[in-house]
Amino acid sequence: MDKAWRPKGPNAPDSIEEVIGWLETGKVSPAEAFRLFADVEQARSPGAAAPPAGAAATGRAGAPTAQELRRVLEEIHGLIGLDRIKELIQELQAFVEVQRRRQAAGLTAEPVVLHMVFRGNPGTGKTTVARSLGRLFKEMGVLEKGHLVEVERADLVGEYIGHTAQKTREQIRRALGGILFVDEAYSLARGGEKDFGKEAIDVLVKAMEDHRANLVVILAGYRDEMEWFLRQNPGLRSRFPIHLDFPDYAVEELVRIAEHMATRRDYRLTDEARLELARLLRRPEAAGAAGCGNARLVRNIVERAIRRQAVRLVRENRHRREDLMRITAADLEGALAQAGVPGEAGTPPGFRSDSGFDLLRQVTAFMATEMGNNRRAAGNGLPA
């Protein structure tokens, strides 16, 4: 079937990631992708294989590597929100590059220690950023492979003496050349001095020294818990020079994330749906849940809306392409409750008082707000 199309010359892919991108966008089939993998590897093979750890990001394999590096940076900058983190990544990139140039010029170079602590709620982009950093460090020649090994307490801590060291070393072995991402790292200290978690931390710290040239360790978890964790283990703070805070997404950012998720699946949110989603996400129940879900909550809402849209289209017997793509405000109805957020269908925000007077006052205030919203919506040409 597919022997026909195989790009050569300037149209040939520069990297395996590019081929995978083509597969995702439907430019090639999986079978073609495998053939192109072989082409990419062949193109890199005559002495131009992926640069070893510590090698410069330019040189014989310079062109493709530089392109890939640019692509990774573009991807990082394309992430929604995370402005401070993007700045810091730029600083890191510049720092590594300058240390390399200093070394080449015979100047004293600072050791490049890239172990990090990520603090933030679930769904705020910690894993996504870690994965991008792995690829970035690979393309910069800091890490050999740049893959991400994601672990948590259960993957590191054993059940009997000696088991923990064995389990932790096994995960470290798998992460060599890439990033070891320890999710909910604070749980390693939750059992106190006698807990095997302490042993896992000791093994980790030793591995960070032993494999400093080829391993980056990232400890991640809730902000307060990570602070507590670092206080419990004073030696750790200095070993992790980079601390990144991942704030919760703003409602506008969550709506953009929802749009992005929908677009990737060939769906479009109507203007009303965007407004409705923003309204839902501003509700106190959602704000509480967003702290525990963030982008994940949005994904659940989008998935729920896609299912509701399907039911609606079948009921309405609509088949037009635009109809199949369009997610309307009605499709978002009940989305929060379905996404596991209690209270959406119940009392409106603010209705928490037992006092009759308070209740009456709040009902009035709520109605006034809703009428104002309706007027604004009508003013925007939207159904009120």
């Binding site: 597919d2 597969l23 995702e24 999986p30 495998f34 894993t127 492979k145 090994v149 993957d155």
Partner: protein, 214 residues
């Protein structure tokens, strides 16, 4: 009650990867192989193509109901379980990871393509690959596509990188024996293990292969 403990996420490298065309029986193999290892509650660690992770715990029978379907492309992410492989006095822990189904052509649905891309990424970092093929379909008269170009490419790609075996699946069905012969002829230098994800035949050989190579 023994459970399959879940491991870390995602695009997460390494472990034992199950790949193959859509509807070859990959997910049923994952569930029933875990069942065969004594797992009663399946702790599934699912990584979606956008990189997010979710964990699900289902009794094995419920997992079959929810995750296995006659329709192709039910699996839209990497779904993994951690298993303990005992032998003699020893025991090896390993991660068994199921992937979205591959196709010979370009699939029309963006999320199916994203799952395929995720499978290819995972394949690059796998420590052992189990390539599931539908032996019954390969043995039927209308066998076009049962052994696809994508299967040949997977075999060529994976066998150069890590231990690799073809699981000729659905051996419980008529014509599977003929399909097994066809698969063995098509991949003469590869290890081909006849299995049935449904009734568990061949699981002992798969366990031995994993033990010897992981």
């Amino acid at each position: 009650m023994p459970t399959a403990g879940s491991g870390g996420g995602g695009g997460r490298a390494g472990g034992c990867l199950i790949v193959g065309q859509a509807n070859a029986g990959k997910t049923l193999f994952l569930i029933n192989f875990a069942d065969h290892m004594g797992v009663k509650d399946l702790d599934l660690d699912v990584t979606w193509p956008d990189g997010s992770r979710e964990r699900f715990r289902y009794p094995v029978a419920r997992a079959r109901e929810l995750l296995v379907d006659d329709r192709p492309h039910t699996t839209r992410g990497l779904q993994a379980v951690e298993l303990q492989l005992p032998r003699g006095k020893g025991c090896k822990a390993f991660r068994l990871c199921d992937t979205g189904g591959l196709t010979d052509g370009v699939h029309g649905a963006a999320d199916v393509r994203a799952a395929q891309a995720q499978a290819l990424r995972a394949l690059r970092h796998a420590e052992l690959v189990l390539h599931v093929m539908d032996a019954a379909a390969a043995g039927s008269r209308d066998a076009a596509g049962a052994i696809g170009e994508v299967d040949r490419q997977v075999a060529a790609f994976a066998s150069l990188r890590c231990p690799y075996a073809v699981l000729a699946n659905k051996m419980d069905l008529p014509r599977a024996q003929a399909g097994l012969m066809k698969i063995a002829r098509e991949f003469p230098s590869r290890r081909v293990i006849p299995v049935s994800a449904l009734d568990g035949r061949g699981f002992r050989e798969v366990k031995a292969f994993v033990w010897d190579h992981l």
